[in-house]
C-alpha cells in the first residue's frame, strides 16, 4: 500500500481528502504544520508528499527546500496543493523541485486523486 504524507493545516481538507485517499487504498499520514511534516517525511519515508504552502511553524517553501536537500527525502515526489495562484510562486515551487503544482480551489478531490494516481 502506497504511503502519502499530507501536510496541510486546514482540518476540513485533511478530513475530506484524507478519507477519499484512504478509500482509494492509500495509507495517509497527516501533518498540520511544516515542522511536523518535515520530521514525518524523514521518519516515515512516504511514497508521495502533498504539501500546502501556507503552513504554521515552517512555511511550505522552506519544507520543500529541506526535503530536496536531505538525501533520504530528496527523491520523494512532491505535489504542491495550495490556494496561491501567482505565476511567480508556481515557478519558484517547480524550480525547487516540486513535481506538480495544483491550486486547490480549481480542482475537485476526484481530480486531485487522478493526478496522484498518475504519479505512481
Amino acid at each position: 500500500m502506497k504511503k502519502i504524507l499530507f501536510i496541510e493545516d486546514e482540518r476540513g481538507l485533511q478530513n475530506a481528502l484524507g478519507d477519499l485517499l484512504k478509500k482509494e487504498g492509500f495509507e495517509v499520514i497527516s501533518a498540520f504544520d511544516g515542522k511536523t511534516g518535515l520530521e514525518l517525511a524523514k521518519e516515515k519515508k512516504p511514497d508521495l508528499i502533498l504539501l500546502d504552502l501556507i503552513l504554521p511553524k515552517l512555511p511550505g517553501f522552506e519544507v520543500l527546500r529541506e526535503l530536496k536537500k536531505e538525501k533520504e527525502t530528496k527523491n520523494i515526489p512532491v505535489i504542491i496543493l495550495t490556494n496561491l495562484e501567482e505565476i511567480s510562486e508556481v515557478n519558484k515551487a517547480l524550480e525547487l523541485g516540486a513535481t506538480t503544482y495544483l491550486v486547490k480551489a480549481q480542482y475537485t478531490m476526484e481530480e486531485v486523486v487522478e493526478r496522484i494516481k498518475k504519479i505512481f
Binding site: 486546514e10 476540513g12 481538507l13 478530513n15 475530506a16 481528502l17 478519507d19 477519499l20 490556494n83 496561491l84 495562484e85 501567482e86 505565476i87 486547490k104 480551489a105 475537485t108 478531490m109 476526484e110
Partner: protein, 321 residues
C-alpha cells in the same frame, strides 16, 4: 466661451473628488495650476525685466525664485501621482489577499460537500441531498466571483498575460454551446449557429477567449424570453474573424448602453433576470478581446434584443488566403 470654461472647471473638481484627495494633492488641479503659474510668471518676469533692465541681478533673483517655486510644484505633482499609484497597488494587493483568504474556507466547503454528496446512496435522504446541492452551487458562485476578482486585479496591475495560440473559433464555440445546453433548456431558449465554410484559424489565447464566448452566451440565454432564440454567426473578413451572437431578449436600455463594459456595472433591468451576476463579465471580456488585438461591441434595443460581436486577428498562416 465662458460657460465652457465653467463646465471644464466643474469636471476638474469632480475628477479630484473621484480620487478622494484634497485639491492641492490632486494631479489635474496641480497641472492646471502649474500651467497658469508658468504663464503668469513669464508675464511677470517680462514686466519686471523691462522695469529693472538696468539691474539684471534683480531679474535673475526673481527668475531663480520662480524656478524654485516651479520645482516645488513639480515635486507636489509627482508626489500626488505616487500616492495614486500606491493606492492602486494596495487595492490589488488587498484583492489578492482577500481572495486567497476566502478561497481557503471555500475549498473546505467544496471538498466536504464532495465527500457528503458522494455518499448519497448510503447516508442522505432526498431532502438533505437537495440542501447539499444548494450549498455546492453557492460555493461555486463564490468561487466564480473570486476568480473574476483575481482576473480584474491582474488586468489592473498589468499582470495579465495573453498566451497566443492558433485555434479554431468555431470548434471552441461548438464546445461552449454544448456546455450550455442544460442552461438553455432550463430557460426555454433555442440556440442556433451558422458558421461559414472553411473558416481559418485565429491567433489568440484559447482559454481566455473561451471565457469571453461563455460570458456572451450566458448573457444571451439569461436575458432572453421564454421560447426565445439565440443565433451565433462566425464569418471571415479580410484581416479578422467576426463572431456575432444575437438574442431575442430584453435588450439594454439606451441610457445604460454606454456603461455596459464598465466594471461592476449592472443595468437596472438586469436584477430581474440575473441576480447572480457580478458585473465583471463584460469588463473582462472587453479587456481580453482588446489585448488579443480584436474589437468588441454591441447593438441593442430595449424589448427587442441585443447583438454582441467581437473580432479576432487571423493566424498569420491564413492571413492572405
Amino acid at each position: 466661451m465662458s460657460l465652457k470654461n465653467i463646465v471644464e472647471q466643474l469636471n476638474l473638481f469632480k475628477q479630484c473628488k473621484k480620487y478622494n484627495l484634497p485639491l492641492w494633492q490632486c494631479p489635474q488641479f496641480l497641472f492646471l495650476f502649474l500651467g497658469i503659474f508658468i504663464i503668469a510668471s513669464i508675464l511677470i518676469i517680462y514686466a519686471i525685466g523691462v522695469k529693472y533692465i538696468n539691474e539684471p541681478e534683480v531679474v535673475a533673483l526673481i527668475t531663480l525664485l520662480v524656478a524654485i517655486f516651479l520645482i516645488v510644484l513639480d515635486a507636489l505633482i509627482t508626489r500626488s501621482f505616487e500616492r495614486l499609484a500606491e493606492a492602486s497597488r494596495m487595492k490589488s494587493e488587498f484583492i489578492k489577499i482577500v481572495s486567497h483568504q476566502l478561497r481557503t474556507p471555500l475549498t473546505n466547503f467544496k471538498w466536504t460537500l464532495e465527500s457528503l454528496l458522494s455518499q448519497k446512496e448510503n447516508l442522505i435522504s432526498e431532502k438533505y441531498f437537495e440542501y447539499f446541492k444548494i450549498l455546492k452551487e453557492n460555493s461555486e458562485r463564490m468561487e466564480n466571483l473570486m476568480k473574476d476578482l483575481l482576473v480584474v486585479a491582474q488586468i489592473e496591475t498589468e499582470g495579465f498575460f495573453i498566451k497566443k495560440e492558433e485555434f479554431s473559433l468555431e470548434e471552441l464555440t461548438k464546445e461552449v454551446i454544448k456546455e450550455f445546453e442544460c442552461l438553455a433548456k432550463k430557460f426555454g431558449v433555442e440556440i442556433k449557429y451558422y458558421f461559414q465554410e472553411n473558416l481559418p484559424k485565429v491567433l489568440a489565447d484559447k482559454k481566455q477567449i473561451k471565457e469571453v464566448v461563455k460570458n456572451l452566451l450566458d448573457n444571451a440565454i439569461r436575458y432572453n424570453r421564454e421560447n426565445g432564440k439565440v443565433e451565433i454567426k462566425i464569418e471571415k473578413k479580410p484581416k479578422y474573424l467576426y463572431f456575432e451572437i444575437k438574442d431575442t431578449g430584453v435588450g439594454i436600455p439606451k441610457d445604460d448602453q454606454k456603461y455596459i463594459f464598465q466594471k461592476f456595472f449592472r443595468s437596472a433591468n438586469i436584477m430581474r433576470y440575473q441576480t447572480q451576476g457580478t458585473g465583471l463579465g463584460l469588463y473582462i471580456a472587453k479587456k481580453i478581446v482588446e489585448k488579443s488585438g480584436g474589437k468588441i461591441g454591441f447593438k441593442s434595443q430595449e424589448n427587442k434584443g441585443s447583438t454582441f460581436y467581437f473580432t479576432l486577428p487571423l493566424s498569420k498562416n491564413f492571413r492572405f488566403l
